[in-house]
C-alpha cells in the first residue's frame, strides 16, 4: 500500500478518464483501454439484448406444441440468430473485452495495454462484424444453426450463409487482437515486484483465455472460409459427391469450438475468484492450484473436442480416447469449485450483490459441470446427444456461469469504473430473481431432454408429454428476462444519482483499488511498486509489511 503520509496538501484531484475529453472523437478514436472497455460494454450489452429477444421468441414459440407465431423457416432463423449472436457477439467478448480491457492494465500496474491502437482496432473489427450480423438479419437471416454443419450449410441452405461466415470471421479476429494485447501486457508490463504468483487470479484466467484465443480462433476462421469457398466453388472438401468428408468439418469446427467454451468460462472463473476472496476477506484457498488449473483447462481443452461427435460417425476407438481426456479436463474445474468453497470457510463474509452472484455461480456452474459428465461418457451421450439435455447443460455453464460471473464482475467493479455506487438492495433482488428464473427455465429442460425431445425442434404436437416442461421453461424465461433487465435500470440510474465512492469502497485488495475511482487516464499518479502478497486481508501481515516497506522497495528496484 503506497500510503504516503499526508503531510503536504493532497495533490489536486487528477482528471478521471471520463472527464478527459467529451467530444465524440475523443471516445471513438481513443487509445485509452478504459474508454475502449466502456465502448465494448455498450456494444456487448446491445448484442445481449438482441440475443435475449431471440431467446424470448424461441421460448414463446415453444409454449404450444404446434408453435405460436413462427413458421418453420423463421423459427430456424431465430434460433440460429440466438446462437450466433449470443456466442460470437456476447459470451466470447463479454468478460475479456469489457472487464479484462478495463482491469488488466490496472491490476498489472501499467499505464495502458501493450498495443492501444490494436485494442481500438479490435473494437472496430467487432463492430464491423456486428453490422454484418445485423445486415444478415435484415436480408433474411441464416438458418444453419450456429454450428454451420456441412453439407447443409455449404450445399443445401439458401439463406445468408456467406455473410454470416464473414461476420463470424471478423468477430474471430477481434478476439485474436484482444488475446495478443493481453499476452504482451501480462508478460511484459507488470509493475516492478509483481511476480507471477502475486498476480490476481483474474489475470491468470485472462492469460489462459488469451492463449486459447490465439491458438484456437484461426482454426474456425479458416474452416468457415472453406465453407464459404465450398458454397461458391464446390471445391469438394466437405461435399461427399466429390469424395470430401462432412465429418472433417465437424472435426475442424469443434477443434475451435470446444476451447471456445473455455474462452467463455475461464474469465468468469477469474471474476469469481476475485469476488469470493474480496467478500470473504480471505486469500483464495490453494492459490497455486487455482492458478495452474486455469492453464490446465487451457491445455487440456484442446484435446477433448471429440465428445461432441460420439454419434456422428466418428470411430469408437477415437471416441474412447476423447471420452477419457474429457474426464481429465473436468478435474481442474472441480478443483476450482472446491477451492472457492474452502475460501469461504473461516472468512468474514459480506453478502453484497457481487457475493450473491458469486455464490449463484458456484451452485449453477456445479450443476452445469456435473451434467457435463453425462455428455462426456460415451454411453449416456448416445441418448442425450443433441437433445434438450445438452441445451440445459450448456445454458447452465454459459448462463449460470459466464453471465452470473459477468454480472457479478460488473457490480463489483462498477464503483471503480464510474466512481458511483449502485443501490445494493436492488442489486441483491435482481440477483435472486435471476437465480430463481434461471433454475425455473433450464431445470425442466434436463427432464424434457432425457425424455428425448431433440434440439432445434419447432413442433412437438405428437408428443404432448413435453408440453408441461415447456410451459415451466417459458415461465422461467420471463422471470429471467425481468431479472436481467433490472440491472440495466438501476446501474444507469446510479451513473447520475449513485453515491460517490472513494478509491476502495469494498476494502478489496488489488492494485486497481489503490488508484482513484474512476481512475485517471494514466491509471496511477506514480507507478506502483508491489511489495505485498496477492490477497493480504489479515491485519497483522499488513502492518508488518508496511513497516519495512522501504527495504522491500530497495530489494525490488535495487
Amino acid at each position: 500500500m503506497s500510503a504516503v503520509p499526508a503531510t503536504q496538501a493532497p495533490a489536486p484531484k487528477p482528471k478521471s478518464y471520463l472527464e478527459n475529453g467529451h467530444t465524440v472523437a475523443s471516445w471513438l478514436l481513443t487509445g485509452d483501454h478504459k474508454r475502449i472497455a466502456i465502448l465494448y460494454l455498450i456494444s456487448v450489452s446491445i448484442f445481449f439484448l438482441v440475443g435475449g429477444i431471440a431467446a424470448g421468441m424461441i421460448r414463446t414459440e415453444l409454449l404450444l406444441p404446434k408453435g405460436v407465431f413462427l413458421e418453420n423457416d423463421s423459427y430456424n432463423k431465430v434460433f440460429t440468430l440466438h446462437g450466433i449472436v449470443m456466442i460470437f457477439f456476447f459470451l466470447i467478448p463479454a468478460i475479456p473485452a469489457v472487464l479484462g480491457n478495463f482491469l488488466i492494465p490496472l491490476m498489472v500496474g501499467a499505464r495502458d495495454l501493450a498495443f492501444p491502437r490494436l485494442n481500438l482496432l479490435s473494437w472496430y473489427v467487432y463492430m464491423a462484424a456486428g453490422t454484418l450480423g445485423v445486415i444478415v438479419i435484415l436480408l433474411g437471416g441464416v438458418d444453419t444453426g450456429w454450428t454451420f454443419y456441412t453439407p447443409y450449410s455449404s450445399l443445401y441452405s439458401n439463406s445468408q450463409v456467406g455473410l454470416t461466415i464473414a461476420a463470424a470471421f471478423l468477430a474471430g479476429f477481434s478476439s485474436i487482437f484482444t488475446g495478443i494485447n493481453f499476452i504482451a501486457t501480462i508478460h511484459k508490463m507488470r509493475a516492478p515486484g509483481l511476480t507471477w504468483f502475486r498476480l490476481p487470479l483474474f489475470v491468470w484466467a485472462h492469460y489462459a483465455t488469451s492463449v486459447i484465443i490465439i491458438l484456437g480462433t484461426p482454426v474456425i476462421a479458416i474452416t468457415l472460409l472453406l465453407v464459404g469457398v465450398e458454397r461458391v466453388f464446390r471445391i469438394g472438401i466437405f461435399s461427399p459427391e466429390l469424395g470430401g468428408d462432412p465429418i472433417l468439418f465437424q472435426h475442424l469446427f469443434w477443434f475451435y469450438s470446444h476451447p471456445a467454451v473455455y474462452i467463455m468460462i475461464l474469465p468468469a472463473m477469474g471474476v469469481i475468484s476475485e469476488l469470493i476472496s474480496a467478500f470473504s476477506r480471505r486469500p483464495v484457498f490453494g492459490y497455486h492450484f487455482v492458478a495452474f488449473s486455469s492453464l490446465a483447462i487451457a491445455g487440456l481443452g484442446f484435446l477433448v473436442w471429440g465428445h461432441h461427435m460420439f454419434v456422428s460417425g466418428q470411430s469408437m476407438y477415437q471416441g474412447v480416447v476423447f471420452s477419457l481426456i474429457s474426464f481429465l479436463v473436468a478435474v481442474p474445474s472441480a478443483i476450482k469449485v472446491f477451492n472457492w468453497t474452502a475460501t469461504i470457510y473461516k472468512g468474514t463474509v459480506k453478502l453484497d450483490t457481487p457475493m450473491i452472484y458469486a455464490l449463484g455461480f458456484i451452485g449453477l456452474f456445479l450443476i452445469g459441470g456435473l451434467t457435463g459428465l453425462y455428455l462426456s461418457s460415451m454411453a449416456t451421450d448416445i441418448h442425450l446427444h443433441d437433445t434438450y439435455f445438452v441445451v440445459a447443460h450448456f445454458h447452465y455453464v454459459m448462463v449460470g456461469g459466464t453471465i452470473m460471473g459477468y454480472l457479478g464482475g460488473i457490480h463489483f467493479w462498477w464503483p471503480k469504473m464510474f466512481g458511483r455506487m449502485y443501490p445494493d438492495n436492488w442489486g441483491k433482488l435482481s440477483a435472486v430473481i435471476v437465480f430463481i428464473g434461471f433454475n425455473l427455465t433450464f431445470m425442466p429442460q434436463f427432464v424434457v431432454g432425457y425424455l428425448g425431445m431433440p434440439r432445434r425442434y419447432h413442433y412437438y404436437y405428437l408428443q404432448p408429454e413435453f408440453q408441461p416442461y415447456h410451459i415451466m421453461s417459458t415461465l422461467g424465461s420471463s422471470v429471467l428476462g425481468v431479472g436481467y433487465f433490472m440491472p440495466v435500470l438501476y446501474l444507469l440510474w446510479s451513473l447520475k444519482y449513485g453515491k460517490k465512492v472513494g478509491d476502495n469502497p469494498w476494502g478489496a485488495s488489488g492494485l486497481e483499488w489503490e488508484t482513484s475511482s474512476p481512475p485517471p487516464t494514466t491509471n496511477f499518479l506514480e507507478m506502483p511498486i508491489v511489495t505485498k502478497e496477492v490477497y493480504t486481508y489479515d491485519a497483522e501481515k499488513a502492518e508488518e509489511e508496511f513497516e519495512h516497506r522501504q527495504e522491500l522497495i530497495e530489494e525490488v528496484t535495487g
Binding site: V284, F285, A379, H458
Partner: protein
C-alpha cells in the same frame, strides 16, 4: 393432460443397461451438488460479518486436501468412463444374426426398406426380441436416426454407410426423431417405430407391409428411371462433355443452335430433341444422338411413348445444378400423421 412423464419407456435391452448408468451418474451429480451447495451456504451464513465465531489460524493452502479432492473425483469419473465405454463398445458391435433393415434419410423424411423389399416412410415395424441392424445412409444432408425408447441414436451421413443395432423388447408404438439439424422441416422429420410380436411381424411382412399401397412413383421418379434405363446419362452427365450437352438446369434456357439461331429449351424443344434430334443440333455438337421415336404407338421397340417423354421432361425440369436448389424428386409426404390403425 397433466400425466407428467419423467423418463422415456424402456423398450430395448440397451435401454435397461443405459438407465442403470444414467441413474448412477444422476446420483453422483445430486450428491456432489448437495454436498458443495450446503457447504457453501453453511459457510456463507456461519462466517457472516459481525458473527462472533472462531476464525483463528485459517490456512490458505493445504496440499493433502487439494490432492484428495482432485484424486477422488478423478477416480469416480474414471469409474463412469469405464462403465460407459464398455456399454458404448457393445452398442457398436452388432451380432451376426441380426435382422437387416435399410434406412435412407432424405430431406425431411425417413425411408425404411426391409430385406424382402417392403418399403415404408417415416414408420418402422420391428419384431420384438430379435436383434435388428439398421444400415443407414443419407441422400443429401446429415440426419440422425433417434429412438428415445431404445436410447439409441446414430447420425446418418451422405457418402458413407453408418449402422446401429438394438434388440426391441416391449411391443408398442414409440417416437422416432431426426436429431441432427437438417433444414426447414427438421422438426417434422419424425414418425413412429412400431414394435410387434415376431409372429405378427412376419405376417405383416408377408402381406407386403401396411396394406397402404406403396405410393405410385411420381412423374419425376419415372422420368429418372427411364433416364437410367435408356442410359441417357452416358452422354448427358453433370457437365457438358464431347458426346452430349449436360441437361442440368437447361429447362427454359436459351440454347444456341448450330446455325446460330437461338431457341428456348421448353417442353416442345425437349420433346423434339428426343424424337428427331437432328432437326435442331446444338452449337458445337454433331448429329450423334439416336432418335427415340417409336415405330408405332403399340410396338415401342426401343422408342419412348408420349407418356415416357413427359416423364423424362419432368425429370429434366427437376435437374438443377445450383446449390441453392433443394434436392429434387419426391415432394415431402404429409408426415407426422399418426397411422390410422395402431396395433395393440
Amino acid at each position: 393432460m397433466w400425466r407428467l412423464k419423467f423418463a422415456p419407456d424402456q423398450a430395448s435391452t440397451f435401454a435397461e443397461q443405459y438407465d442403470w448408468l444414467f441413474w448412477a451418474t444422476t446420483a453422483l451429480t445430486i450428491f456432489f451438488t448437495i454436498v458443495v451447495g450446503l457447504l457453501v451456504i453453511f459457510f456463507a451464513l456461519r462466517f457472516r460479518e459481525g458473527k462472533k465465531v472462531d476464525r483463528s489460524n485459517a490456512h490458505d493452502h493445504h496440499l493433502m486436501l487439494e490432492l484428495t479432492w482432485s484424486i477422488i473425483p478423478l477416480i469416480m469419473g474414471l469409474g463412469i468412463f469405464g462403465w460407459a465405454s464398455y456399454l458404448f463398445v457393445e452398442t457398436r458391435q452388432p451380432p451376426k444374426n441380426a435382422l437387416d433393415i435399410y434406412v435412407i434419410g432424405k430431406q425431411w423424411m425417413w425411408h425404411a426398406q426391409h430385406s424382402n423389399g417392403v418399403r415404408e416412410n417415416n414408420m418402422l415395424h420391428l419384431p420384438s426380441g430379435t436383434p435388428v441392424r439398421l444400415t443407414m445412409i443419407s441422400q443429401d444432408v446429415i440426419h440422425s436416426f433417434f429412438i428415445p425408447a431404445f436410447r439409441m441414436k446414430q447420425d446418418v451421413i451422405p457418402g458413407r454407410y453408418t449402422q446401429m443395432w438394438f434388440t426391441p423388447t416391449k411391443p408398442g408404438v414409440y417416437n422416432l426423431f431426426c436429431t441432427e439439424y437438417c433444414g426447414t422441416q427438421h422438426s417434422e422429420m419424425g414418425g413412429y417405430v412400431v414394435v410387434m410380436e415376431p409372429s405378427e411381424y412376419q405376417e405383416w411382412l408377408a402381406n407386403g407391409g401396411d396394406n397402404v399401397p406403396v405410393k405410385p412413383m411420381t412423374m419425376v421418379q419415372k422420368g429418372e428411371k427411364i433416364f437410367k434405363d435408356k442410359a441417357c446419362f452416358k452422354c448427358h452427365g453433370d457437365q457438358d462433355i464431347h458426346e452430349g450437352p449436360s441437361l442440368v438446369g437447361i429447362y427454359n434456357q436459351r440454347r444456341v443452335m448450330k446455325d446460330n439461331s437461338v431457341r428456348l429449351a421448353d417442353d416442345e424443344y425437349l420433346r423434339q430433341a428426343m424424337y428427331d434430334p437432328y432437326a435442331h443440333i446444338l452449337k458445337g455438337y454433331e448429329n450423334t444422338m439416336p432418335s427415340y421415336k417409336p415405330k408405332s404407338t403399340d410396338d415401342l421397340e426401343g422408342g419412348l411413348s408420349e407418356e415416357d417423354v413427359l416423364n423424362v421432361i419432368e425429370y429434366i425440369k427437376s435437374l438443377r445444378s445450383s446449390p441453392t436448389a433443394p434436392a429434387p424428386a419426391i415432394p415431402p409426404l404429409a408426415t407426422g400423421v399418426p397411422p390410422t390403425e395402431v396395433p395393440n
